[in-house]
Symmetry: C2
Subunit: 474 residues, 2 copies
């Protein structure tokens, strides 16, 4: 681990590459109404949910099948023009910004469920389907797709950023849940990685290499992912703790005992206040764990009893069950609204969001010191954590017009990441690197490992057309 340099993390480098008129003409000829250069369309495709900005792409192609993707990529590759895959637009780290210009490749129309294999607990989908659309489509099978990053992200985008969220403590992340892909490479060739078999030792793990590659190695056009039986029983609870440290130490014991808890989320007192205000809840304004248990009725009961006991050993109070589906939905919606609840505490603000993940034994240190620094800075913030995984998010609520506030928030982020790395963790648990964390990735992985990533990128995309300027500068 090298010492991070704060200034490297502030803003993306914008160096637009030329988009020849001949390419725009060729795209128009090939795609007709599926290609747009309208200002509003381009602008909508040139940003994500993060706070960084860049000029919009020169055109947007709306792909409807793999062949469309192949042709668009081939045409762009011929002219060495960047191609940026786009679906829900819910990424946070500037992944979708056209920092080198080029075209946006929208796959939202590729949102079909291609096949459900209920016996095998797998489903094959196109990349543009969102997780809610998918779960709606399979709701009669008795199965569900558990990965839940909060936003109604596309499955393709979730794979591209190696997303996870509240259920990951039990069901894993996209890393564990993608079995196979169809991917269009920079040459326009479509390859298949993986099979529907649950495990394989057949050569390099191209599936896992594509998962988390943020559109820089290929455009995902098909995914086979794992499903899970809907739990027979399901129960949720909230519990307040005297301090964040107590809540975290309770979580460590839950994990260490092997309790198969499905969700274990931490919200600090500050954020409980925001959530109460936003969602009109009457939660105790103290650090709180939100938990969910999945399994057979007996297993859920046993898990809940074990956890309730551990909670009381750590000063947990007001252990409350959300036993009806309505109560559960209300509770988890409130959790998912924490981001927006946070934003509403400072009207007109924008959020700089952190995403460090540390070994769980280090989580109390990581969270407490970060909260302490945020308090000292005077910048309003919120804090939520997928605490069972050691992953937590601070949102620094800044005035978008104030470069001083942005710099202070980035400085806090910088200190937070440096600490996470010292504690054996990572700069990003689930959001990805994008343009925002390129410097942090260097700090974390070291120049040798990033050079290996670059070498792979260059081998597979010699003209550097696939979402260039993300993950590492180029």
């Amino acid at each position: 681990m090298n010492a991070p340099t704060a200034t490297a993390h502030l803003l993306p480098e914008i160096t637009l590459r030329p988009v020849p008129q001949a390419l725009l003409d060729a795209l128009a000829a090939r795609f007709g109404a599926q290609c747009s250069t309208a200002q509003a369309v381009r602008e909508q495709h040139g940003r994500d949910e993060g706070s960084l900005q860049a000029p919009p792409p020169a055109a947007v192609v709306f792909a409807e099948n793999t062949r469309d993707v192949q042709d668009a990529v081939r045409l762009a590759n011929d002219c060495a023009v960047p191609v940026i895959p786009f679906a829900a637009g819910s990424s946070l780290e500037g992944h979708l910004l056209a920092v080198q210009g080029g075209i946006s490749l929208d796959v939202n129309r590729m949102n079909a469920v291609l096949s459900v294999n209920a016996e095998d607990l797998t489903v094959t989908v196109q990349p543009g389907i969102t997780r809610k659309q998918l779960n709606d489509a399979i709701k009669d099978t008795g199965l569900f797709f558990p990965i839940d990053p909060g936003a109604d992200a596309s499955i393709g985008g979730m794979a591209a950023t190696r997303a996870s969220g509240t259920n990951a403590v039990r069901y894993g992340t996209m890393r564990e849940n993608v079995l196979a892909l169809e991917v269009v490479l920079a040459s326009g060739e479509a390859i298949r990685t993986g099979t529907r078999a649950k495990k394989s030792s057949a050569g390099y793990d191209l599936t896992r290499m594509m998962v988390g590659s943020e559109g820089t190695l290929g455009v995902i056009t098909e995914l086979t992912i794992r499903l899970y039986p809907l739990p027979e029983a399901l129960s949720a609870a909230v519990c307040s703790f005297p301090s964040v440290g107590d809540a975290v130490r309770c979580t460590i014991e839950i994990i260490q005992l092997g309790v198969p808890i499905a969700r274990c989320e931490l919200i600090d007192a500050n954020t409980v206040r925001a959530v109460n205000a936003h969602s009109r809840l009457g939660l105790r304004e103290e650090p709180m764990l939100l938990m969910e248990f999945h399994g057979s009725p007996a297993s859920v009961k046993e898990q809940a009893e074990t956890v309730q006991e551990l909670a009381s050993e750590h000063g947990g109070k007001a252990f409350e069950w959300a036993s009806t589906p309505e109560e559960r939905t209300r509770l988890w919606s409130a959790r998912h609204m924490a981001y927006f609840a946070g934003l509403q505490t400072r009207p007109g603000c924008t959020a700089i969001t952190t995403d460090a993940c540390v070994p769980i034994s280090q989580l109390a240190t990581a969270v407490l010191e970060s909260v302490h620094e945020a308090e000292a800075s005077g910048i309003p913030y919120f804090m939520v954590g997928h605490v069972g995984d050691g992953n937590f998010h601070m949102g620094y609520l800044i005035d978008p017009a104030s470069s001083a506030e942005r710099a202070r928030a980035e400085q806090l982020n910088h200190q937070l990441v440096a600490r996470a790395l010292r504690l054996g963790g990572t700069c990003t648990g689930e959001h990805g690197v994008g343009v925002h964390k390129m410097g942090f990735l260097l700090d974390e992985a070291g120049t040798g490992a990033v050079a290996a990533m670059r070498a792979i990128k260059q081998a597979l995309d010699p003209k550097n057309i696939l979402n260039p300027g993300k993950i590492f500068s180029a």
Copy 2:
């Protein structure tokens, strides 16, 4: 999927690259007694547990630390001489054969536990430690490392082949259980991949790229892997079924119901006979599931009740519990001895072992047709399956002196793999490609995906020194 070509899978291509005397001198000067060119030592390092053969390496270097590995790789890279990492020698597909000559890099002396992080359920080890040594070393922590490929393989070798085994249905494979690596690249540079955080979205997943790369992309010198709490309760059972199909259909329902079964192994009647003879057991000589349940006492009881009910719905008879640790050990030892028990049914024979893995819904078809073909061929065989994962092994017991028998067994393997691919599966669930399955990998992944693997290999190892001639021909 392309049509497989049987002849491509028979024997490794041997094209020895020159090993300059200057390199041997340099290794002797640098490593002294840690370097050997003795015939017996070289021969022991030039083979694995599979049945393929090649001339031994020109020298063996016994590395004692990362610096040793770096220096050996650097010296070899300077002369473009192959380096083949070696530990337990228990691989099965010719992974350790010096098919292009070169030197063997023995890491058995690098077998230390570097740190145990019990709170985080992780341990950091050197690559030469075996899974039994590791579990002995941590037995006072209340934790264990569950991955169990049968052989007492090294953790480094298990990572290199993406191994799994009997516990994978619950605990996953090496793919899911390696968190971070130190790897020496072809240049001699050591990089670190991953962190101790449980999840990460920080750039390309170099960890997963190294896991399963069979020593062709780097030499693993350190691994951080996941541990699990020793289950509070543990119980094993055997159950006989009227047919392999009934046993498999029972397994499908177990998995579909989400029962967190820890082991679910199928043995066919033929193999039960061999195991009975070898281990002096009195098991019913019918297709049989061997199962194990881990969890709290209540959860284990519930799992067992559910499974017992499902088994009887599928004609299961003689459901028997192995309740004492001694009975369990005897049962699982018998399972692990199936390979040797099989060999003993035909004295002097050698086994050609298959390793296909299919979606579980296709497992009955895959197994039954393979067994049918083996019966028809007249070649003695055994069959065991990690049936909860859709993975099964046939062992064809051939006279090593008979090229006709070998060709017949390879033809059976060929038909079995072709069928597995048609059914949506993989040619290798856990053994890896080595030299034996290179043709099958092409059939499975297609030329485009294998070309992508080659491009990555070339980018990271331009002189093709790291275990060349494995996974794909080069």
